[in-house]
Symmetry: C2
Subunit: 148 residues, 2 copies
């Protein structure tokens, strides 16, 4: 299951990608992306540390994408927020761990079945960018936020 938090992160990034020209406050993003404001603040903090968004403090501050929307993949966002994409630790590219109770990894039928799953998942999530998502689902134009 994709976590709620990951959905929020993706939606927030899509909102930011729809207004690359200016910084949006957490409150504005929260409204447009339908995310609890305080929770979103936390999430944007993580995205900032990871280098996906840049922030400007103080009055008229806010967040904007730190990189082109074309370069931010769903896979990257989900890994950041939810951790590895693989359904088994022994199939993770970015955080491989042996399954604790696995007798023989090479001959594990479960691992084998999920190897196909994870390849397809990664393929789909690497191929989808925030830019593509923004273009597919044009978010409402932030009518409530004055242009100052």
């Amino acid at each position: 299951m994709l976590s709620q938090k990951a959905k929020y992160a993706l939606r927030a990034l899509i909102v930011l990608a729809s207004r690359p020209d200016r910084a949006l406050s957490a409150a504005a993003v929260a409204e447009a992306a339908r995310v609890p404001t305080k929770f979103l603040e936390q999430i944007l903090g993580e995205l900032r540390v990871a280098g996906l968004v840049a922030s400007q403090r103080g009055r008229h501050g806010g967040y904007r994408l730190a990189r082109p929307a074309e370069s931010i993949t769903f896979a990257a966002v989900i890994r950041l927020v939810d951790g590895p994409i693989a359904p088994l630790p022994c199939l993770s590219q970015t955080a491989y761990r042996r399954c604790a109770d696995c007798a023989d990894e090479a001959n594990c039928a479960i691992r084998r079945a999920f190897a196909d799953v994870v390849v397809a998942s990664r393929q789909a999530l690497d191929a989808t960018t925030i830019a593509a998502a923004r273009d597919f689902d044009p978010a409402p134009p932030l009518a409530t936020v004055p242009d100052r």
Copy 2:
């Protein structure tokens, strides 16, 4: 993430599939599949209710597959134990639910990206059966259980 319980269920079924001729006690399966015995009892109970295994009570009782191992897919087992395979409720075949906070399902970019993921996952897990898994990973021959 595939739950521990689902792994246990799959391993247990593979063990049972390797001895279709006789009933195996929960304790014997537990040892061969490396699953805590009492926990396995619970799992086997669920598999029985679902019609995947049959049980025989009393002395010399035990469990055996209720259907040919070729007809039991990973997808069926995982759905039974972990619930829907889809990473979003709005993409589940067997338990569709609208995402609570989804504004417009048809135009949801997240849903769109995961549609590909779920199709591939289902395809892989429907294609893998307990029989195939048993043949791929020949479990140890239950040396510790006397043949009576």
